[in-house]
């Protein structure tokens, strides 16, 4: 009995020593520099020294990152580390939050998207977003997909619109399932179908970049698998940035992975390398499950 208790106590003390080391590093977080390959040669979107504040609280500290053309970049990290906030900056969705202040430079193919003269409307047509909880409009499936093209004037005749709707639904692997009920409500689909509908809606405006904020977290494994397949196909034509809580998902779908911790970008590397041989201690601690 006593031997077991002694062994447990030693283990505990070892663990607490490690946790202390982690806490020390965590407190020095502001001094950490990003390791790995944050930049790329063929960048679609570039972020340099981005800081995001919600009123007085700083959510993102000095992040610099490139997202390459036709690349899938996954962003992982513990809850509250700022991944979603960072993602939403890329198409200025944070503009809707009054207390949010952003500094730094974010460019889309060289154009600064936060320039005072930059119109938010065409920006969002080039950078689309899919949200965590599927949010189809309470309209028919057809109208859901057709809304984007209509407001941007991408189709002038009904036949053109029909074509765009069909193409988008095919690209989102949803066409076969809904082709007979295009005019039934979008909200009548299952969760996985709704999320694919949202993806179809986003690609209907032919964006260049697609942002995905934990797109599968509200779905079952089979629906998730379908969407992961979809991402592989989509990455041939679109640049994709995906925030995910599931490391397995990041490992499956992305080319590069970025690890965030408490608002700082700790490490960015090729996905295989990050998950098998991470360069930073914090990354290793996260992926081996010591905290999350």
């Amino acid at each position: 009995m006593e031997a077991v208790m002694k062994k447990t106590m030693t283990e505990n003390s070892q663990k607490s020593a490690e946790t202390e080391k982690m806490t020390d590093i965590a407190q020095d977080i502001s001094k950490q520099k990003t390791v790995g390959k944050p930049f790329s040669d063929n960048a679609k979107m570039s972020m340099r020294n981005v800081n995001v504040f919600y009123a007085d609280k700083q959510a993102i500290q000095d992040i610099s990152l490139d997202i390459g053309k036709n690349e899938v970049v996954a962003m992982i990290g513990p809850s509250g580390c700022g991944k979603s906030t960072f993602l939403r900056c890329l198409n200025r969705m944070n503009d809707t939050i009054e207390s949010c202040k952003i500094s730094g430079e974010i460019t889309l193919e060289g154009d600064n998207i936060y320039h005072p003269k930059q119109d938010v409307v065409p920006l969002r047509a080039r950078v689309g977003i899919v949200f965590q909880k599927p949010n189809p409009f309470p309209k028919t499936i057809y109208e859901n997909v057709a809304y984007g093209p209509k407001i941007h004037g991408l189709a002038t005749r009904r036949a053109e619109l029909d074509e765009i709707v069909e193409t988008s639904l095919r690209k989102a692997s949803l066409w076969e399932e809904v082709k007979d009920r295009l005019f039934s409500p979008g909200t009548g689909l299952s969760g996985g179908q709704q999320q694919r509908l949202c993806i179809a809606r986003t690609i209907a405006v032919s964006p260049e970049v697609i942002l995905m904020d934990e797109p599968c977290s509200a779905l079952d494994p089979i629906a998730t698998a379908k969407i992961e397949e979809l991402m592989a196909e989509l990455s041939q034509n679109y640049t994709i940035a995906i925030v995910t809580h599931s490391m397995q998902q990041a490992a499956r779908v992305s080319h590069r992975t970025a690890y965030f911790h408490m608002g700082k970008l700790i490490e960015v590397n090729d996905t295989k390398k990050l998950f098998t041989n991470p360069e930073h201690d914090l990354t290793e601690a996260y992926i081996t499950g010591r905290f999350g």
Partner: protein, 432 residues
């Protein structure tokens, strides 16, 4: 875990002991709730019984059957197609002749005056409209039902009850004999009171109707709806979607909430000072009444519209914004259609309130005695609640029953509008 020793009770024993008391308290609580509802229902029942009891008789009116000879000479009509001659003819004289023929025992001025007072002094209008419709009736004998005088009407309605004794003094034995004779011949009977719905106000109760008041209410309500609905929705959209969070916006919000609680007569004073005094508009027209009621209904509509807009899930707005919709497109394509059911419900309730408003309209002069039925928003008019108010002052039996009948009509409109609002709300409820 408790050990059950000697005289110390275990937990379950304690629980059981208090159980009866707790259930009794629950029953009492339920009884209070049911009692409150029953009290409300009882008040409603008393209200409706009283009003319907007093007013239902007004929907029937006494008519007398007379055989008139439309003698062209007596009517002084030479050309039966000339509207002026038709309008100026002495129809009452023709009816008087018919009455004299029926009751030849009326001799002397006094008797004849009593005889003529059996029918309403507006009975001739019936003949006039018949002749205007069909000029070929000139110089023929026709039988026609004409309005009886309100004294006869009241006598007929109360002759089988206790009240008749107090009323007998207005009648004399001769008149009563004639009435009984007409009844026996089936030449006097109660018919549906069409005059109530086709005539405007009148000094004679048997000719008084609510058509003028209803038309006035309709035009006033139309002006109110046309102005307050768009302005209210636009203000709500601005406050919810565009207004920055600062002291000025807070100031606006506080004022709107306060205005919703301001007594309605103050709006009447405002209307009097601003619309009639400063802008010089006419008194007593539905346009001014509508403007005053717009001011009164606006806070209600703004508050309920804001609540409806707030209830639209932000995820829908985010989805639309993410696709590149501009702010205005998000509001028009998504927010307004989804908020519309709530807005409509609030608006209909506001309009039902406006329909029943009296005090502010009294202040802008809609208390006048208007006989003609208004044809538009610039004709002098009165509204139904004000008409009820004016008639309620009149102690004549016939006006008492008409007041209650008008109240029934007003209540019917209010119940219809509120039921429509509730049905709309249920029908358009969405589940996200």
């Amino acid at each position: 875990m408790q050990k059950s020793t000697g005289n110390k009770l275990s937990t379950i024993d304690l629980v059981n002991k208090n159980l009866k008391k707790r259930y009794r308290a629950e029953k009492r609580f339920r009884a209070y709730g049911i009692g409150a509802i029953l009290f409300g229902l009882a008040c409603l029942v008393v209200l409706f019984t009283d009003i319907i009891g007093k007013g239902h008789t007004a929907f029937l009116q006494t008519y007398i059957y007379v055989e008139v000879n439309l003698d062209a000479q007596q009517l002084d009509i030479t050309d039966s197609t000339d509207p002026r001659q038709l309008a100026m003819a002495d129809y009452q004289g023709v009816i008087k002749s018919a009455l004299r023929k029926k009751f030849p025992d009326a001799q002397g001025r006094r008797d004849k005056r009593d005889l003529y007072s059996l029918v309403s002094n507006g009975a001739g209008y019936t003949l006039r409209s018949m002749l205007e419709d069909d000029p070929g009736l000139l110089d023929t004998n026709i039988g026609v039902w004409v309005l009886a005088d309100d004294d006869i009407d009241t006598y007929l309605k109360s002759r089988n009850s206790e009240d008749v004794k107090a009323f007998i003094e207005r009648m004399n034995p001769k008149k009563i004999a004639w009435v009984e004779s007409l009844l026996a011949d089936e030449h006097m009977e109660l018919q549906f009171n069409r005059t109530f719905f086709t005539n405007g106000d009148s000094r004679e109760p048997e000719q008084a109707g609510i058509a003028g008041a209803m038309a006035g209410s309709l035009f006033t309500l139309l002006v109110t709806i046309a102005l307050s609905f768009p302005i209210g929705i636009a203000a709500a959209v601005y406050l919810e979607e565009y207004a920055p969070t600062n002291r000025f916006t807070d100031f606006i919000e506080v004022n709107i909430n306060n205005l919703a609680a301001v007594p309605s007569i103050i709006f009447g004073l405002l209307g009097l000072a601003v619309f009639i005094g400063f802008f010089g508009m006419h008194r007593s027209i539905p346009l001014v009444g509508g403007l005053v009621l717009t001011l009164m209904t606006l806070p209600t509509i703004i508050i309920s519209s804001r609540a409806a807009i707030k209830s639209v899930p932000p995820s829908i707005k985010d989805a639309a914004l993410g696709l590149g919709a501009s702010k205005m497109q998000v509001i028009i394509h998504h927010v307004l259609p989804l908020a519309m059911p709530g807005m409509l419900t609030g608006a209909i309730i506001g309009f039902a309130q406006a329909l029943g408003e009296t005090a502010p309209l009294l202040m802008i002069g809609m208390v006048a005695f208007i006989v003609d039925i208004p044809g538009g928003t610039s004709d002098p008019a009165t509204v139904l609640p004000v008409q009820i108010f004016l008639w309620s002052d009149n102690p004549e039996r016939a006006f008492v029953e008409r007041t209650s009948a008008a109240i029934m009509v007003l209540l019917a409109f209010l119940i219809t509008m509120n039921t429509l609002a509730i049905w709309l709300r249920k029908r358009l409820e969405r589940r996200w």
